[in-house]
């Protein structure tokens, strides 16, 4: 492998400030780094593989909880997030190209765009998580969907728009409390609306209240026993993916700072390339999560 004697090696090292002493050439250093990155990505795939396995086992044996659970996920938000992440992958790939070509301003612009997309992705994920939280659709023992019998009686007791308004105001006053046990305020009516919008702070007439109660009964009736399993898997998979997005953002931020100091060019772009590989893997995992969680037929 090493045809270079000590003399030429030290000349190469003095020419390339990025070349670590244990590598012969920049080419060797780059390819070793890339190989290491791919090995790391392989372990990442195995890490997510465990979660995909849990998903496969539960979906094969209890398809009804997946069919039931997916109705509470918004295809609109999931789809937008897919597009946002694909676009961020595109800008990331472009920033690698820009680094290789020595186009520093394009590199910085693409990295900033990638970061903004990542923020957008997490923001949308936050909206989705907040909706689940409000309706008690959380994991395992925290799964307390808001259709307690008390809620029904309270709804039924509401006379006219005034009471309804007060009810909704109370709900708005302490949104975080709705996920706690013993809370009775929201009902499944809001829950079934989730796919379209949040509950409107309007004042529905009493007929709507009765319809809401009926809807609620239907929802309870149709709920499979272990619906919580779906939300456990949903939060585990999207949560771990979200953590990877945050880790990727930190890595991109680091590369961005280095790009602003003009540290990359045709001779040295390995960090941009390797962070890009990681970012594409995060995108790839979402490509599978989106149909598996949101698009169940």
């Amino acid at each position: 492998m090493s045809g270079t004697d000590h003399g030429t090696s030290s000349t190469i090292h003095s020419e390339h400030s990025h070349l670590a002493h244990h590598f012969e050439t920049p080419q060797q250093q780059y390819e070793s780094g890339k190989q290491g990155m791919w090995l790391f990505l392989a372990t990442e795939i195995l890490l997510f593989g465990g979660l995909f396995c849990a998903y496969a086992v539960y979906r094969r044996n209890q398809p009804e909880i997946f069919y039931y659970g997916h109705q509470f996920l918004s295809v609109k938000w999931g789809g937008i997030n897919t597009v946002v992440l694909i676009f961020s992958s595109f800008t990331m790939a472009w920033s690698v190209r820009a680094a290789q070509l020595g186009q520093n301003r394009t590199l910085i612009a693409c990295l900033i765009l990638t970061l903004l997309c990542a923020c957008g992705f997490l923001g949308i994920k936050g909206i989705e998580y907040h909706e689940k939280w409000k309706h008690g659709l959380l994991w395992a023992s925290r799964y307390k969907p808001v259709h307690h019998p008390e809620a029904k009686t309270q709804r039924a007791n509401v006379k006219g728009p005034e009471g309804e308004k007060a009810n909704l105001n109370a709900l708005a006053a302490k949104p975080a409390a709705t996920a706690l046990p013993g809370t009775t305020l929201p009902t499944t009516a809001t829950l079934t609306q989730e796919k379209t919008t949040l509950p409107q702070p309007a004042t529905p007439p009493q007929g709507t209240v009765m319809a809401a109660v009926r809807e609620e009964e239907a929802a309870i009736h149709g709920e499979p026993k272990k619906a919580a399993v779906f939300f456990s898997i949903y939060f585990a998979m999207t949560g771990l993916h979200g953590l990877h997005v945050i880790a990727g953002m930190i890595a991109i931020l680091w590369v961005l700072f280095r790009a602003m100091r003009r540290q990359f060019g045709p001779a040295y772009f390995a960090p941009v390339d390797f962070v890009g590989l990681y970012w594409h893997l995060v995108d790839m995992i979402w490509i599978f999560l989106f149909p598996l969680l949101y698009l169940i037929h």
Binding site: Q27, K34, I45, C53, F90, R97, G265, P266, G276, H297
Partner: protein, 119 residues
């Protein structure tokens, strides 16, 4: 390529061809293909194809992942050893999932009764 070489000359780099530079048309083409496939995977959920819905969704997702791996991640132009790492990981995940699903035949009567009972 000409642009790249001239830039490298300008910076005095001696490592021509350290890695493949993805051409702009390839990156844009991959991006457009990924968007169209995303649209397709959402659109097919409107059709009831039975269990083929899942196969189709996974097929489209695999096609998208391959586009990302081959072009965005440069695997199509890389040393094959990197692709080997990816494939090895996927083989082990497939092994893991399929072995875990081995006993699921026992649950199928319950699943079938649910599917038939559904409206």
């Amino acid at each position: 390529m000409a642009e790249r070489e001239s830039k490298q000359e300008a910076q005095g780099a001696s490592n021509h061809g350290m890695a493949h530079v993805a051409p702009a048309w390839l990156l844009i083409g991959t991006f457009v293909a990924l968007l169209s496939l995303t649209g397709a995977t959402v659109a097919v959920t409107n059709f009831d194809l039975g269990r083929y819905n899942l196969y189709l969704a996974m097929g489209i997702a695999t096609a998208k992942a391959m586009l990302v791996a081959l072009f965005f991640m440069h695997l199509a132009f890389d040393k094959p050893v990197n692709a080997l790492y990816l494939l090895t990981a996927l083989v082990f995940v497939a092994l893991f999932v399929s072995l875990s699903l081995m006993d699921s035949v026992h649950y199928q009567p319950d699943v079938k009764s649910f599917v038939q009972g559904a409206p």
